[in-house]
Symmetry: C2
Subunit: 445 residues, 2 copies
């Protein structure tokens, strides 16, 4: 099974746990069968591989998510990076080209495109596997999955099928309706459009070549900036007559808001928190090191991270986007290939950062022109390289790096490092140097 | 006017802004006439000195509050330190002895004892001044202030006067009653006992000498540990027949809970916070650097500090004490004579602290046996002395102090210093050395 998982979006609606760097699919609020917290992307990935252990999963995403994906799914997961954001059609075309021209996926093979962020039970991916069979039967050019609606939602697009069988032809697509219209659709047996598309490789390649002039994956990648901003729905589905839809009746939840997330998160409380007996139907997620005491709260969600603190009525939390946009967008937390960093304090001319490096990981070898930095090793052991000089470092060691000096740190064990930046910290100011092929950037600096 | 302000108590009920080190009277939620935030102790002090600019105010308190008092009221305010906590009678006896034996207050002068934490209007201190006149008239041995009750409260003790005049004799004292009994007291013209006592110096000295054997202030201080734990009410008032009470009808609020504090704090929101339009009757105090977004909250108080985050229904917040006691009591913030410190991170074998030093201030000259430390200067300039070696320091400078090494820092301008402690950080581990007479300790380390 060839699956392209579309991992997009920056998260305003699950603030303060999601931000422009950390999308909602990376927040660990679910639990795997062993009771360990996992994120949406981990959950979906494990669900796919449990249905088909040989599934070939490629994650189509932007550069900012690559570190988080490798951190959460391992170094070997296949990632197809969009050089910049376009819409779903170029993203799918790029990922399909990658599979065909780079990975050798044949023209007759089925390709299934899924969003990375639905909360579903395992039967969902059994249905995805069924889509592959349907594609192989070559009944229609495109096969979709339609979700059996549970209520007349105004939030989703609808697929109007031409029958009520498990697999039907598609008569029409409908945009997000008002409630009354949604009810009418339901009466006609309509399905929610979940953004799951399946087709043969040759179908999507043909569509891609007809809309974009390119020779192969590398060529498409090189000219990605000039690709049209166009959705798959608009570019393909609305012009295609040969479409069928497979009904899916299992659990499917769009956990795009805190209200929905509260329904499916594994534990009502994650992190340091104490709730009194008069608190009702309230969820708490606390990523900070300090405790939260909740008394007499009803139907609320409370979430705290290095970016901020949310205290919201569950219903009301669905309307947070404009408020979050008003709040300063300085990112205080990010997941990197080598671990995590937290901005602990920022002041006039300085920034104080706590970096936690994974065992065996390393930062890129880099320098800054306009700021001095220092590293104080708080825990763990490793090695620094400063202008070519190697030094073993242990807790208590302090390494200073004047502006212009090339530096990197390599962790033997897990390391906690306090970094100070002094100077013109607002400047984009980083030059990277080759030390060896595994060096990886610390973006966002 | 000789006023002894009793500044006691550690604060659990205004957590997380109060803690074992920072009592509620030091939280700055009020505003002075110039619109600048001030604390309870600042407000009361300024109210007294505006009624009587020559008032001789002595603050009777414990060692842990001395730095905060000097920070908030200036270096010249008179502080009488109890070497350890006893009850109100020894505390008042010690402060009165201090005034008499050390400060030369005469035996015939009036002394007035007030708690430091009522929220009152200026007429309250006009009444306090009236108490002095009443003491000088020598009508009774003790004169009290009684607050005209506004409702039959179960939270206060009651004074039953023998008349309804402005000044009456006192027939009886009553403990905190139930509501029905409180109503009966009100019908008899009873007053709340606000803990304000006035008498001549010779009266309290005689009482003190009759209960404790001591010669003068220094002797009493030296043997304070063996003083009986006994309240002023029990030791004096309940045994005294010659007591009168002055009625006070102005504003008087006991801001001991968040519910009460919310009524009188100057601004509904202090610190970084954004409240949506559906939020009602909700107060926010945010001492953290990150924003708080509040949506759809009703009748709540939200308070965040380095110690933790409170999200509470106002009514319910009155019952927080047992919950706060369950929460880890590691102090994350403290006010010192030289400024403030925040614990920013604590891990196995390390502590990371951000210290802000006031211009011209200094830490004590000290050393540790079981931990290495480092200072990274983030902002400001000053001087460090490390094993006798002076060094000018500026932003970006890093100073390391191995275990055993004597060190101090002196701030020229306001300085922001990041301190790391690596080693056995749980040990009480500090030796102080004389550098000159102004050195002051960093307690709690």
């Amino acid at each position: 099974m060839n699956i392209i998982l579309l991992s997009g979006g920056s998260g305003k609606r699950l603030w303060p746990l999601s931000n422009d760097i950390r999308s909602k699919q990376f927040i660990k609020l679910f639990k795997n069968s062993k009771g360990k917290y996992e994120s949406m992307v981990q959950r979906v990935y494990h669900q796919i591989t449990s249905v088909d252990k040989d599934a070939k999963v490629t994650i189509a995403t932007s550069r900012t998510q690559v570190s988080a994906i490798h951190n959460q799914l391992g170094a070997n997961v296949s990632v197809c990076v969009e050089p910049m954001r376009r819409d779903t059609f170029p993203a799918i075309a790029l990922a399909a080209s990658y599979l065909h021209y780079e990975e050798g996926v044949g023209e007759d093979e089925a390709v299934i495109v899924c969003p990375v962020d639905p909360y579903v039970d395992d039967s969902y991916f059994a249905s995805v596997a069924r889509l592959e069979e349907l594609v192989n039967e070559e009944r229609t050019n495109v096969t979709l999955m339609g979700i059996e609606p549970t209520y007349p939602s105004e939030k989703y697009g609808y697929i109007i099928p031409d029958g009520k069988e498990e697999v039907s032809g598609v008569r029409e697509f409908k945009e997000k309706p008002d409630r009354a219209t949604a009810q009418k659709y339901l009466d006609q047996g309509a399905l929610w459009n979940a953004g799951v598309f399946a087709f043969q490789m040759k179908y999507i390649l043909k569509k891609a070549h007809s809309l974009i002039e390119f020779t192969d994956y590398r060529d498409l990648y090189a000219q990605y900036a000039s690709c049209p901003r166009i959705s798959f729905d608009y570019a393909v589905l609305e012009k295609e007559d040969s479409i069928s839809v497979l009904r899916y009746k299992g659990e499917w939840k769009d956990v795009g808001t805190w209200n929905m997330m509260a329904e499916v998160m594994a534990d009502r409380v994650k992190g340091k928190a104490l709730l009194d007996e008069t608190t009702e139907n309230t969820n708490v997620v606390n990523e900070l090191g300090i405790p939260i005491l909740v008394m007499g709260a009803k139907n609320m969600v409370i979430a705290a991270s290095g970016d901020g603190i949310l205290v919201a009525d569950k219903e009301q939390s669905g309307y947070m986007k404009p408020y979050v946009e008003k709040i300063s967008t300085d990112i205080k937390f990010a997941e990197k290939s080598w671990g995590t960093y937290h901005v602990m304090d920022a002041g006039q001319g300085y920034l104080a950062i706590k970096a936690i490096l994974k065992p065996g990981s390393r930062m890129s070898y880099h320098s800054h022109e306009y700021r001095d930095e220092s590293w104080t090793i708080l825990a763990g052991t490793g090695k620094t390289i400063i202008d070519g000089m190697e030094q073993i470092v242990r807790p208590g060691d302090v390494v200073t790096m004047a502006a212009g000096c090339k530096h990197t740190i390599l962790a033997d064990t897990e390391m906690t490092v306090f970094e100070t930046q002094i100077g013109e910290i607002d400047k984009k100011d980083k030059a990277k140097f080759r030390l060896d092929s595994t060096s990886e950037e610390w973006t966002g600096e």
